[in-house]
């Protein structure tokens, strides 16, 4: 569906994106992950035709981006505003008129739950409501490919869940989705395929579950830091990683590690065991945290 070949975007003194290539197949939810400043938004805006790459090519259905792409793509930007003094329904009608075959208004209002604030001034919407309106605008032309740039950043947990369920509904309609996020759990929940970016380059690429399986054969045990003595020898295949107030123990054999902790009379009251996440993968690949 979309082919990115060796994309670069250089600004004076900054290589925002430095040689990125990938293929987005039809019907998948494709995620671009990485911390703020990794080059996700620059990459996705090059795919959207908003930023012209310094070098490299983008093909949509085998052709350079053109009017066909504009008609068939739906975009939800990270930072965007609508004209002032415009009501939600008026904004929707304006965008409907930009496209040859727009989706009916009722359909969109229902799909994005806009009913309760349809006649409100767009400036008086809450964060979640505004994101729903911007999603509706992105879907207004019944697009084949939908771009969502950090759709849940700054939303409360409930609004985030709502947006996720809307994204799942879009996936169910067999549309191609391109999503950027710095929430690893969001990528894990929604994406079929991801690329992880850092400092303008791709550091990992593939299916989220397959990536974790490839990189990790261990589990994570967390304990409060003061629960552990300074000198503690663990069994083979286990290692200790202090993280502020807590300590993470990566272990290939959780049972024997816990037995060892018990034998050392370490209190297990606040012990947690979990499987590694994309967050851990990022840490392993880069040596630093996503949101540091």
């Amino acid at each position: 569906m979309i082919e990115a070949q060796n994309l670069c975007k250089h600004y004076p003194g900054v290589k925002a994106v430095n040689g990125v290539s990938f293929h987005i197949p039809r019907g998948v939810c494709f995620g671009l992950l990485g911390p703020n400043g990794a080059g996700k938004t620059t990459t996705v805006e090059m795919l959207e035709g908003i930023i012209t790459p310094s070098s490299g090519n983008i093909l949509y259905k085998g052709e350079p981006l053109g009017q066909r792409f504009r008609n068939e793509a739906g975009i939800m930007f990270q930072h965007t505003a609508l004209q002032e003094f415009i009501q939600v329904d008026e904004a929707l009608r304006m965008f409907q008129n930009f496209y040859p075959n727009p989706r009916p208004l009722d359909d969109l209002v229902e799909a994005c739950a806009l009913e309760e604030f349809l006649t409100r001034d767009t400036r008086k919407l809450s964060g979640g409501q505004k994101q729903r309106l911007l999603l509706a605008i992105a879907l207004i032309n019944n697009p084949e490919v939908v771009f969502l740039d950090e759709p849940t950043t700054g939303l409360d947990p409930q609004s985030r869940r709502n947006l996720w369920s809307q994204v799942r509904r879009i996936k169910a309609e067999n549309k191609t989705l391109v999503l950027t996020t710095h929430y690893m759990e969001e990528a894990f929940e929604l994406c079929d395929e991801i690329i992880i970016m850092d400092h303008g380059v791709i550091i990992a690429q593939g299916n989220p579950k397959a990536l974790l399986a490839d990189h990790f054969d261990n589990s994570v045990i967390t304990l409060p830091r003061d629960a552990l003595p300074d000198q503690l020898t663990l069994n083979d295949g286990a290692s200790i990683h202090p993280q502020g107030d807590i300590v993470e123990i990566l272990s290939k054999d959780v049972d024997s590690t816990i037995r060892l902790l018990t034998a050392n009379q370490i209190p297990l009251r606040q012990l947690q065991v979990r499987t590694p996440t994309l967050e851990d993968l990022f840490l392993e690949l880069t040596g630093h945290h996503l949101r540091s």
Partner: protein, 358 residues
């Protein structure tokens, strides 16, 4: 360079399709009207801006009507036509203090000014004649001063052009200038900064459709607001209108377009609202002062007069004054109208060539 690249890829794609598709890609009336309506709603609902646009000019004209009911300048104005021989006794008069002597070249035009009280006395030095308006108090006094030189008297009796008659076209023009510059220039920069332009760019709406919609919306608003201001001022202050209303409307439209095109030029690529605001003020204030809105530039330094000719507002106000005060026809205002069209063509071409969405 960037735009050129984008255009190339766009055209490369379009070549697969019919000519009709191509024209649809460049200008669709439906998309244009959608953008136009959104901008109109935005303007009409912004009550403070609308109120400012409507009420301010009426207040200004009223203020002047009351403040300057008895005339305004301390100076007497005397037009001089022909050579002054140093031996002539009239030389003594030419040394009189508190009189501004203006050397003129076109006798007929200046006679009209005497008729309208804009010049108090006109001396023809070659033929030892003078023109004076017998209803003008200043002319009456000056006549006493020139009596000893025994020039031939030619009396005129046209009614006085009050300052308010003279200032109304200026205030209307000034209001149009501010509305066009800030309503187009500032708004587009704001759209660029807050991401409205980016959002629109991701749709099939073309730059041409977007800009046309902005021009059309602002022109519509300016014509409506100016008509209302004109009517409101007319109700409160009785001012002079001797020419054709249709011609005045034409001047209004052509003038407004030239101002809007200046606004577009400013908005072409600036990304900060503060910079836009500063630049717009830098353009509008000198334009207001140098275009003869408040006071005539007659007798000012030639440099200032030439500079004024480079400002579209000068031509617009001149043409409007000619129609309202002198009842000029299309022939008399053809030159300023043509200048305004040239300004528009020039600014729109540069503005659209350098326009950036980001």
């Amino acid at each position: 360079m960037r735009e050129a690249k984008a255009n190339r890829s766009c055209l490369a794609y379009s070549s697969h399709h019919s000519v009709w598709d191509l024209t649809q890609n460049i200008m669709s009336i439906r998309r244009f009207l959608a953008a136009l309506q959104a901008r109109n709603l935005e303007f009409l609902r912004d009550r403070t801006a609308l109120g400012w646009n409507l009420i301010m000019p009426v207040l200004i004209v009223m203020g002047f009507a009351f403040a300057f009911t008895t005339g305004q300048e301390e100076l007497y104005k005397v037009g001089l036509f022909g050579e002054t021989d140093t031996e002539q006794p009239i030389q003594a008069f030419l040394q009189t203090r508190y009189v501004e002597f203006i050397e003129i070249e076109e006798l007929d035009k200046t006679i009209e000014k005497v008729d309208r009280h804009q010049i108090d006395l006109l001396l023809d030095l070659n033929n030892q004649r003078y023109w004076v308006n017998s209803t003008s108090p200043k002319g009456y006094l000056l006549e006493k001063v020139v009596a000893p030189y025994q020039f031939e008297r030619v009396a005129l009796s046209g009614s006085e052009i009050r300052y308010v008659d003279w200032v109304v076209p200026g205030v209307l023009g000034m209001n149009i200038m501010f509305s066009a510059l800030f309503g187009v220039g500032y708004v587009i920069v704001r759209y660029r900064k807050n991401g409205v332009l980016k959002r629109l760019r991701a749709t099939p709406l073309s730059a041409f459709e977007f800009i046309s919609a902005q021009i059309a919306s602002r022109l519509l608003m300016i014509v409506t607001v100016t008509t209302l201001v004109y009517l409101g001022t007319d109700l409160l202050v009785d001012f002079r209108m001797t020419g054709s209303y249709w011609l005045l409307l034409l001047i209004l439209i052509v003038g407004a377009l030239s101002m809007i095109s200046v606004g577009l030029l400013v908005a072409a690529r600036i990304t900060s609202e503060e910079a836009a605001n500063g630049l717009l003020n830098l353009i509008s204030w000198p334009m207001m002062l140098l275009s003869g809105v408040w006071f005539s530039l007659e007798g000012s330094h030639p440099l200032v007069q030439n500079l004024a000719l480079a400002l579209p507002l000068t031509h617009m106000v001149d043409a409007a004054r000619a129609v309202m005060i002198e009842g000029a026809g299309i022939k008399e205002v053809a030159a300023p109208l043509l200048s305004l069209c040239l300004f528009t063509l020039c600014f729109v071409t540069i503005g659209s060539k350098s326009f950036r969405w980001e």
